[in-house]
Amino acid sequence: MNAVDITQATKAFGKTVAVRDLDLEIPAGSIFGLIGPNGSGKTTTMRMILNILYPDSGVIRVFETERTGPRLADVGYLPEERGLYRKMKVRDLLMFFSELRTGKPNPLDVDGWLETFAMTGHSKATIESLSKGMSQKVQFIASVVSRPRLVVMDEPFSGLDPVNFEIMRTAILDLRREGTTIILSTHDMALAESLCERLCMIHLGVKVLDGTPEAIRTAHGSEMVLLECAEGTVPWEAFPEVKDVHERASSYELTLNSGADPQQLLAALIQRVRVHRFEVSRPSLHDIFVRIVRREGKEAAHA
């Protein structure tokens, strides 16, 4: 079963199309990564899943139900730009959010989460007296308290120190283990790769990647070579295996054409230059991300 099914969703603000003809399936019980550069349409997509915004056309189903209007009790949301009622006490605030979600406060769950995040001692502190990391943890708890089945998190790790980062990462994995579906938006590609079972990249309002990290890397994974060689100009046009060259301080990052044999390239290179280092690698998600953004950017500039 899918937690979210999006079919041909389009949303425009005036003349700007934020999301265009988006099709997306988010399997229930998975951690799903939504990636893309700033202003690509991620937040609009998340707001549409949450019913905060309605699509101009297309259908969005959450747990197989098409909803417009009322909020779903089993959906939690952690927006990117977040704040809390500064004068409220931590526990009162979490009780308020748990009551807002399910209709009645859930003290057991609130206290459980406070304990998980080692915040029991701060339950009577006002929000304004908390450090940034602490209030970020409270915001996280507010989005997951009373155990929603689907949690949408926009950059949940931004600004966290390594200790709190690890606590939150563990909490997200625990939620997934319990069956919660998590939609995660992040700019941290390494994190997305390590945490998400499926990924979708949106760029300029259009889906450009969708699948498991492994499948994406395979599909977009022209092999890459890190080359260090003696100084001098390399006549790249003489090497048909090379698709793209990215010059670094003292090395080159080569993208090979699909099907090209790195061994043949090495043999050809040795004929012309003195090779110090030749390292074959598959592109990371970060590389694919940057490559797509650059390519789309160039196409947009030419259009």
Binding site: L50, I52, R71
Partner: protein, 438 residues
């Protein structure tokens, strides 16, 4: 509905459970009625320093009468008969002979005495004061002091002066004072309500005495409380919503509640806060008036109307202010919108006195039927002793109820778009578009 209930609870507790609310509740009427209280306090602090006043009477006809009147006043009104305390200044009048050679110099010398405090004032009575119709310039009476416009003595002296002049004129006509001693006795005109028949007993009821307290003070205090309760709950809505939006609380709440639920939580929360204040003031007023034995002044018949207008007025204004707050992106935006938003709320306050003086005039009637003005103006008219046609409060209430529903509906549409909007403050045309198209 349960989400609205949760939001109302939070709004209410956040507002009421603060020291500011309790202090505000107690202090607001004091600050609000500050000028009235100050006047009452200072009314008891009269300057009792004796007032020395020089009189130059060119006619020679009235000076003695003024001296006698001052002496009589000093004997009767300067000291409290029971306590013996001095409660008023004595008027010490001095007869000064006119200087026929240099009247200007005489005026300058007396003015200098007023300046250095030897005299309080000096009066110059013209030679033809008895017959102004024959020589109006010569009939002038001038009162010279540091602040003649607000001088209590100037007001007092006009009475004995004119009375003496009238007797002098009658004497010239051959009528002696002893023949008609009560010729100039003053009778006052009492303000009374209309006579009515008691429906139960069938007896004709005597008309009630209507005084200034009933005519002005009671309506003004009632209207004052209406303004106070609206200021307490509806007026801060614009800033509060803007703050929740800019502090990024709104989006977190919007993940769990629709914009309409969010807005209604705030509107009804504000309503609950003002009703708490209203009930507090109602109980306090009943207790205070009962203790003072002045419960008769309590406008019992308008209390249900007061709360009906209060509830609808707060819903109308709170929803409107919440919508305007939702389109603001910083404090500057909120500042820019506050004055125009407050205008329909403030306008009737400038017209309180004209409305009270003529509650049945077209201005008052029309204003009381314009929904944003209805709570204040209709209430003011209803509490005035004159009374208003029975259909008007009902018409006002119906129009206000329709407008409040419309305000909630349109504001909800603006709020939904505004709360997530960023960038520049939308223009009025854009707000109308949001309100109409949603």
């Amino acid at each position: 509905m349960r989400r609205i209930r949760t939001l109302i609870k939070r709004e209410y507790i956040a507002a009421v459970k603060t020291k500011g609310f309790v202090i505000g509740l107690l202090l607001a009427p004091v600050i609000f009625g500050g000028s009235g209280i100050a006047m009452a306090i200072f009314a008891g602090h009269v300057d009792t320093t004796d007032k020395k006043i020089a009189i130059i009477d060119h006619s020679g006809a009235v000076v003695q009468a003024l001296l006698d009147a001052a002496e009589q006043r000093n004997a009767e009104q300067v000291y409290d008969k029971e306590t013996g305390d001095k409660i008023s200044p004595a008027y010490v009048l001095l007869r000064i002979e006119p200087d026929p050679h240099d009247p200007e110099l005489q005026r300058l010398a007396l003015s200098d005495q007023v300046r250095d405090g030897t005299l309080h004032a000096f009066i110059e009575i013209g030679p033809s004061v008895l017959h102004p119709d024959r020589d109006s310039a010569g009939a002038r009476v001038s009162y010279h002091s540091k602040n003649p416009a607000a001088d209590e003595t100037r007001r007092w002296i006009a009475n004995p002066l004119n009375e003496q002049l009238r007797w002098e004129r009658l004497q010239e006509a051959g009528i002696e004072q002893t023949e008609v001693p009560d010729l100039f006795d003053w009778v006052s005109v009492d303000g009374l309500s209309l006579v009515s028949r008691d429906e139960a007993s069938g007896e004709v009821q005597e008309a009630k005495r209507k005084d200034e307290i009933e005519a002005f003070i009671v309506p003004l205090i009632t209207a004052g409380f209406m303004i106070l309760l609206m200021m307490m709950s509806a007026a801060p809505m614009l800033g509060a919503v803007m703050e929740e939006k800019t502090q990024r609380v709104a989006e977190l709440v919007l993940g769990l509640a629709t914009p309409f639920e969010f807005m209604m939580g705030k509107v009804i929360g504000a309503l609950a806060v003002s009703l708490t204040g209203g009930i507090f003031y109602l109980v306090a007023a009943v207790l205070m008036l009962s203790t003072l034995g002045a419960f008769g002044y309590f406008p019992l018949h308008v209390i249900p109307w007061f709360f009906a207008f209060l509830i609808l007025g707060i819903v109308f204004f709170s929803a409107m202010y919440a919508a305007l707050g939702s389109v603001c992106n910083d404090a500057k935006d909120a500042q820019q919108l506050t004055f125009p938003a407050m205008l329909p709320f403030l306008l009737p306050m400038f017209l309180l006195v004209p409305i009270l003086r003529a509650p049945l005039a077209p201005l008052a009637t029309v204003m009381s039927l314009i929904p944003p003005f209805t709570p204040l103006v209709m209430l003011l008219r209803m509490t005035s002793p004159e009374g208003i046609p029975a259909w008007q409060p009902w018409a006002g209430l119906a129009l206000l109820a329709i407008s409040s529903i419309l305000s909630v509906w349109l504001s909800g549409r603006i709020f939904r778009m505004g709360i997530l909007s960023v960038g520049k403050l939308p223009k009025f045309r854009q707000l109308v578009k949001w309100a109409v198209r949603g």
